[in-house]
């Protein structure tokens, strides 16, 4: 199994507010070095690293070494998959609820 993907459930990964904030920060830029991410939080570098590791295990974050620093970027693909199932039911109910509106109007006539 690919170590950077599918090891951890994306739901678990984004359940934590720190990790959601990390995703937002990463979404704003192409690639962010660890020290810049750490500077955004009250917690230490190790704690931020741990959160990034969890995101990495869920396939949401990709890292690479550039010289002595590690840079992180977002991989939004698993989030899109999360959205698919929502989108399905959202569309299902919106369509049905619109149909109900038509039924109620017909009944009025």
């Amino acid at each position: 199994m690919n170590e950077s993907k599918g090891v951890r459930d994306a739901f678990d990964a984004i359940a934590d507010p720190t990790r959601r904030r990390l995703i937002r920060l990463l979404a704003e830029e192409e690639e962010v070095p660890l020290h810049e991410l750490t500077a955004q939080f009250d917690m230490g570098r190790t704690a931020v690293s741990k959160h990034l590791t969890i995101l990495k295990e869920a396939g949401l974050v990709v890292d690479r070494k550039v010289g002595r620093e590690t840079r992180f970027r977002l991989n939004a693909v698993p989030l899109r998959e999360v959205q698919d199932w929502v989108a399905f039911y959202s569309k299902f109910w919106r369509t049905n609820m619109f149909r109900l509106e038509q039924l109620l109007e017909e009944e009025e006539e």
Binding site: L74, V86, W93
Partner: protein, 132 residues
């Protein structure tokens, strides 16, 4: 974890009439799916969609809560994925009724698929992200 799909729709009708469309099997069939629903707590029923090669088309449900004409809740199970669907009706006056749907219990059974998050700003952030 709390994952919630939430949809609202406003109707020109009475709360009583809206309630019949949520609970009467023949009326329900006209806008959701064929079913053997009864608004009785504990009643087990099925919604039946068109079967396909991956799915027998059956949604299994059990009525959890009947509070006529305000609230109705039942389970919605497809395979191993078991959700809860809750309808809340609000009489807005002037012949208008708001129908509020909440679907909860999305899990990771289908890999990473899931529900819209009831996490405030996060939802719009996620949508922005996905729009990129």
């Amino acid at each position: 974890m709390s994952l919630v799909l939430s949809v609202d729709h406003e109707y020109k009708t009475t709360i009583e009439k809206a309630w019949t469309y949520l609970t009467d099997p023949s009326k329900l069939a006209k806008w959701v799916l064929e079913n053997d629903f009864k608004a009785v707590e504990g009643h087990r029923f099925q919604f039946r969609a068109e079967p396909n090669e991956y799915w027998d088309g059956v949604i299994n449900g059990e009525v959890l809560l009947v509070d006529e004409p305000n609230k109705l809740s039942y389970t919605w199970a497809v395979g191993e994925e078991k959700h809860t669907v809750t309808w809340t009706l609000h009489d807005l006056g002037n012949g208008k009724v708001n129908l509020h749907l909440e679907q909860t219990g999305f899990s990771n059974v289908h890999g990473l698929e899931g529900a819209r998050y009831g996490w405030g700003n996060w939802t719009s952030q996620l949508e922005k992200l996905l729009a990129q």
